[in-house]
Symmetry: C2
Subunit: 480 residues, 2 copies
């Protein structure tokens, strides 16, 4: 079959927002919320406290995002939920009141679209919360509830809060706060499909799907795709799959996945043995041990071999997220690691996604620490921000960086070079992850390779039939 | 001050619908609900089971209600709630999915208004449910919840379901399913006011307020009235107050109350010692012991002396409700008791309210038994239905029965007579509650009293200066 993924995604640069932590408006629209008290914005995040970021606040920062070159936002969940990360959905049709409710979201969507910024929401359809109406009805009415078959009840009585008794229902990750839907029930299936349709009709540009591998009902994600694309053929569907995702990337389900298979080797190569293992172990990706260039090339070649090129161009590439420690912290605070990884992120096929705050040097360990409040401007790392701005602009200027073919052309020691090629346009990207300056010689038959430095402190010399790159320690270079 | 109550209420005949039990559509509009299984419609009601009545079904019965002469409906709660009576509100902005959701309600409101039928909803603002979002957030986040002050937390941890531990929050009637709002919190107050405004703007014609005496915040119901009436000055506000309601009927709060002070003596007079005490004791009204006519007159005169006449005309008069046994059952199945009580109901100042099914002879003990499924036509008591139809038509024909002055003119033994007088129009209503035929002589100076029999098997003879009524045993008579 001919696989089709949304064209806009191939040209998108995403910004991932954790809504409670990005921006809190000072101009409250709702009388209702005027007296709500939050935990201190700058304090270390806790599992249960809210910092009060909201969507009105995001609207106020859209100019910042536009200036940065962002043209798509992926929001972690925004629906009504009694958790600061909002993965415990209480109501799929209501934007959380702390975020400003449906009114604020409508305003945000309009304001984003006016700036040509797409908006993708997080759909948590494997499980709901124990306060979710249909589950709550079972808690209240027991075996007489009409919604009994919506969940996986294993015995009676249910014990939603008292941990001394068995929960007696299936829940995600053995967390009784998160009862799992029974997707085999056609009503549940229809319920979820209608939610997906509703928000696509409301104008969102796609769905990021939380733990979709847990949904095992036959044909579920195929139907999901069909019904979403029937409304908007260019809607983006991206699944949270950390590993080999071929099962879901056959063109009938997702357009792409959160590309932790890119993140892991990229961190392992650029941060190398700086990686602080305590921040990455016990996670579903492996950005360690350190990789040499040859190993990095192998990992990338393998990744690029997994899926159709149309899928590759629609992957959601990332270095970190709300589910990981931040790359800066993983790298022990080493800024060059972040810079090199960011260069690789912004020159790779697929849509780069920048986790809010990474661009200004926000640190963060494993969650909840990686969900700190976005810092005030006085605390921004200006050089990191400039690097992001430059690399984003570079990507926007050069279509080859977005949809051009990718080919490794050099891998030795800690130096790695690849080309992106789109018809006549060719760019070369080189990274020296080592702590010593390096010289790289590339065979350059004819006029194939560019010689103009578009980014980076390195230098290039052209000679008969080859190119000589001089790469300072821990630096990257883009030629075009 | 000049008290004003809605004019339409003075001319209204209400029908009280318990939505789960009145009418279930056979033409399901929602794919979602097609496989929901309900308890048998005809089986005895249970505390936790649903019978699946819905608002689409009510629409299908609007012609029946119009034919009966109904021009207003009071719905017990319709908002999303995990209880068959729906007094445990889970979401004040969402009509329950089993009822057809907001879509069905919109259709119902339009269809009712097209038939000049008003719609009054039940507002449960004293307490919410333990699944209600803002309370649920406290269950999930404990002392870090931003909504802590929305309820009355008395200690930690909370125990919403495990009855072996103290609940540690204030709840209605010590029922931990029903956490009480903290109305002293200005946010809570605003939240409730906005709900009230929202549904009035959506077109409902009024609010019946559940247990409003429990809401003790200063000026709460005054503000409620101001904000509701600012949107629709003719919106009806009727409180659930079972006893002396002067505190709330001063013209600044409610237009009327559920008039159990009318129900109690009316049942005690018409059913007399037939009243089955087990169905009425432990309730907040006293339809026993049996009353003679003089005692009935005293109770009614006292009631009519309590409030301004403008209030009297806007009372919600009733014989029974979802909170009581049905009058037929209270009277031990004696139909004449129901007929006499219904005659008094439909000739009294204030809006009569007929509890669904009473008009066709549906029996029912204390709840949940008084909430049985509305019976199929084959089980209707045709004579009782005809009586309702006739008396309703009579009330609609004679304005004096609606807004004319009320005056007792005779009370002796078990015979009671009163007049309703509006300018030139005078009607006389006589009831003989005794088991023997009775003759009643009324002094009739000049031409004041009517002589034409409008209703009932009794006879009238006019003589010089007085009127002689012949009243068969257990019968009523209306002259006009």
């Amino acid at each position: 079959m001919q696989i089709h993924t949304p064209n806009w995604v191939k040209h998108a640069i995403f910004y991932q927002i954790f809504p409670d932590r990005f921006s809190r408006t000072q101009q409250l629209k709702q009388k209702l919320l005027q007296a709500v008290s939050f935990e201190d914005w700058a304090a270390a995040p806790t599992l249960y406290g809210y910092k009060g970021g909201d969507l009105w606040g995001v609207i106020e920062r859209l100019d910042y995002l536009s200036d940065l070159g962002i043209n798509a936002i992926y929001f972690t969940p925004i629906f009504q939920s009694a958790s600061n990360h909002r993965y415990h959905t209480h109501d799929y049709y209501r934007v959380d009141p702390l975020l400003g409710g449906n009114e604020a979201f409508k305003a945000l969507l309009d304001a984003a679209h006016a700036r040509d910024i797409k908006v993708v929401l997080d759909g948590v359809f494997n499980h709901a919360s124990r306060g979710f109406f249909f589950f709550h009805d079972i808690l209240e009415n027991g075996q007489l509830s009409p919604w009994l078959d919506w969940f996986k009840i294993e015995g009676w009585p249910l014990s939603p809060y008292n941990v001394e008794q068995p929960a007696n229902y299936a829940c995600w990750d053995n967390n009784r706060a998160l009862p799992q839907f029974n997707h085999a029930n056609p009503m549940v299936r229809e319920y979820i499909m209608e939610i997906a349709e509703y928000w696509i009709k409301a104008g969102i540009d796609g769905w990021r799907l939380d733990v979709p591998a847990c949904v095992e009902a036959e044909g579920f994600w195929q139907e999901f795709r069909e019904r979403v694309k029937a409304i908007n053929p260019e809607a983006y569907i991206v699944g949270e799959i950390w590993e080999d995702a071929r099962q879901w990337l056959d063109g009938t389900q997702f357009d792409g996945v959160m590309n932790y298979l890119f993140a892991a080797p990229t961190i392992a190569f650029t941060a190398g043995d700086r990686v602080q293992v305590q921040y990455v172990q016990d996670r579903s990706y492996r950005p360690y041990p350190a990789l040499f260039a040859v190993e990095y090339k192998e990992a990338i070649d393998k990744l690029l071999g997994l899926y159709d090129w149309e899928i590759q161009l629609a992957q959601l590439n990332l270095l970190d997220s709300h589910d990981t420690a931040r790359v800066l912290t993983i790298a022990g605070g080493d800024r060059a690691s972040v810079e090199l990884a960011t260069l690789l992120l912004l020159t790779f096929p697929g849509a780069p996604s920048i986790y809010y705050g990474d661009e200004v040097g926000l640190p963060g360990g494993i969650d909840p620490d990686s969900r700190q409040g976005f810092p005030p401007e006085s605390q921004w790392n200006g050089e990191l921000l400039a690097l992001h701005r430059d690399l984003i602009a570079l990507r926007h200027r050069h279509e080859a960086l977005r949809i051009g073919k990718y080919k490794s052309v050099y891998a030795s020691g800690q130096c790695y070079v690849f080309e992106r090629r789109l018809e006549a346009e060719v760019l070369l990207v080189a990274v020296n992850a080592g702590t010593e300056p390096a010289r790289v010689t590339l065979e350059a038959p004819g006029e194939t390779y560019p010689r103009k430095v578009l980014f980076g402190p390195g230098q290039v010399e052209a000679a008969e039939g080859h190119l000589e790159l001089s790469l300072p320690a821990r630096s990257g270079l883009v030629l075009g």
